[in-house]
């Protein structure tokens, strides 16, 4: 029984419960998804091995291709979130009185549930809603726009909601980055007579690079996986205008219980996401400044 007192035994004993959960709920879905995608497994009927049939169906499935395309369009939101969050972080990176109250206010959308946020914006975006009212008063639009009910604007309205909810989160991450930049750098730039924008573009942004990479990757994943907004507000409509790949996988898997097909779709999306993140990683590794 002496081995029970070894450090190795203690280590594994400590890790066992956590690793078991990770194995079952993180590793297993990745492993099991592959064989599942080669079957026609569903709740009813027998399960057969169908080879690559699900994949062949997928590349011909118009709704799936539309959902993939919508997901890719949704990625357009990522650079906007980064730019606005960095600007917000710069704005609140001061020691003015009340600044902490402002930071907290900007963070409130992050902590509230997407259900509450989505419901709120659905009324704000409605035909007789506040958004139309304000835009009409300001003369920006000439007539009411059905932001969520028109297929040309619905996806962009949802993107706005996602961005609005996420801004505060990235602001805090960038704020942490800003506070890590040595103040001597700014002082040196001031002495050299650099303008505010020069300082931002030449010092702040390059030194935030690791944070930008991190935030871009997180929001990229988020944009590809986006689900809650569509689930609460549009269910993919009008038509297939806001059908994203996660929503489609959910519909095929957990509404129609077509587990085999949904797994195949999931794997296709996973491969695309993996490739995209590697691409972003590579893109960011070129150049860079250290301090």
């Amino acid at each position: 029984m002496r081995w029970m007192r070894t450090e190795t035994f203690a280590a594994w004993a400590f890790m066992a419960p956590g690793l078991l959960i990770v194995a079952v709920f993180v590793l297993w879905p990745i492993i099991y998804g592959i064989p599942l995608s080669l079957t026609d497994y569903s709740v009813i009927g027998e399960t057969h091995y169908v080879g690559f049939e699900n994949y062949v169906t997928a590349v011909q499935d118009k709704s799936f291709l539309t959902s993939l395309w919508n997901s890719l369009v949704y990625v357009l939101i990522v650079p906007f979130i980064q730019i606005f969050s960095i600007l917000m972080a710069i704005l609140v990176n001061t020691r003015l009185p009340l600044i902490k109250a402002f930071r907290a206010a900007y963070y409130i959308p992050v902590v509230t549930s997407m259900v509450a946020v989505a419901l709120m914006w659905s009324w704000l975006f409605s035909n007789n809603g506040v958004v139309n009212y304000i835009l009409l008063q300001l003369g920006i639009i000439q007539e009411q726009v059905g932001w969520l009910s028109s297929s040309s604007t619905a996806l962009y309205a949802l993107m706005f909601i996602t961005m609005w909810k996420g801004l505060g989160y990235y602001m805090v991450l960038y704020l942490a980055g800003l506070q890590g930049i040595p103040s001597e750098l700014y002082e040196a730039a001031m002495i050299d007579g650099a303008s505010r924008w020069q300082v931002i573009l030449r010092i702040t942004v390059p030194l935030l690079r690791p944070h930008i990479l991190f935030c871009t990757l997180i929001s990229l994943m988020g944009a590809i996986r986006v689900f809650d907004e569509m689930f609460v507000l549009t269910q993919g409509g009008p038509g297939n205008a806001t059908l994203t790949s996660s929503l489609y996988i959910y519909q095929k898997g957990l509404e129609q219980f077509n587990f085999g097909y949904a797994s195949a779709l999931g794997l296709i999306v996973s491969v695309i996401v993996g490739a995209l993140s590697i691409f972003v990683f590579r893109l960011n590794r070129r150049g860079g400044v250290s301090y």
Partner: protein
């Protein structure tokens, strides 16, 4: 003088920007609060009702008696407490040896964990559903919580925290003949309280707001947490705007309060997590 004037102008400009942004980020909540206090008024009137012309808690009283909020709040609390406790205990246990022990396979385990963070898993929810059914945990709170009972991110975070602890602490415990479990519980854990607080806050927010997985797992709407119940209410009463507005306000107040009281730790912890 000119410098002083310029400074005042810059401050004024900054505060105007800050206020405009605050209006954009909190305005929708204030508007929702405003209309939830005006029963009988049609929100979709033209021009839309923006300011409260009178204050009446009718919507709150009605939706409270219709929806059995205490029950939903209780459900949410059970799910949140279960989820938070699982996450704290499991990530503290798993990360501890990874940070402070020397054993064969340590680096391999850690590398494997990090890899699972990078691999995207869109199919996860479907396999989770099958696993929960297979474990016979459908329609149970354990089934709601288990798939998120520990996250690799939290393990990573706690490992960073444990690494800041000098190894002499463990050695001294061993000299005194304490068991590994006792060293962990009595000597090490008290030193990582800030790390635990961060996990706690992050997970409170996550579990409190989770609505989709509870809908998938729980067959019985009586067992729904607040956020799921809200989608349910919206599906049934989308015409009764005042009720849903009041229900939404009731559901967001607790989490906003938790955030406001803990925001310092929360924001610092979040920022620290990225640096780590």
């Amino acid at each position: 003088m000119a410098r002083r004037v310029r400074k005042v102008i810059r401050y004024t400009f900054t505060y105007i920007l800050l206020l405009l942004l605050a209006l954009l980020m909190t305005g929708p909540f204030l508007w929702l609060l405003s209309v939830s206090l005006m029963p009988g008024r049609n929100v979709f009137s033209n021009p839309p009702a923006i300011w409260p012309t009178f204050i009446d808690f009718g919507n709150y009283v009605q939706v409270w008696s219709y929806m059995n909020f205490p029950k939903y709040i209780m459900n949410t609390l059970i799910i949140t407490v279960l989820g938070v406790v699982f996450n704290i205990v499991l990530s503290c246990m798993t990360a501890y040896p990874l940070a402070l022990f020397r054993f064969k396979g340590r680096d391999m385990v850690f590398a494997l964990l990090i890899t699972t963070m990078i691999i995207p898993s869109s199919t996860a929810m479907i396999v989770h559903y099958l696993t929960i059914q297979w474990l016979n945990l459908g329609n149970s709170y354990l089934g709601v919580v288990l798939p998120a009972a520990v996250s690799v991110f939290n393990i990573f975070l706690m490992r960073q925290t444990f690494q800041g602890i000098p190894s002499e602490i463990r050695d001294s415990g061993k000299m005194d003949g304490a068991s590994e479990l006792r060293i962990w519980w009595q000597l090490v854990l008290p030193l990582v309280k800030p790390g635990i607080a961060v996990i706690m806050l992050l997970e409170v927010m996550a579990f409190w707001n989770n609505f989709l997985w509870p809908i998938v797992v729980l067959d019985d709407p009586e067992k729904y947490p607040l956020a799921s119940a809200l989608t349910y209410l919206n599906g049934q009463f989308s015409y009764n705007f005042g009720w849903i507005a009041a229900g939404t306000i009731i559901s967001v107040i607790p989490i906003i309060l938790v955030f406001l009281f803990t925001q310092r730790y929360y924001m610092e912890g979040l920022a620290g997590a990225v640096k780590g």
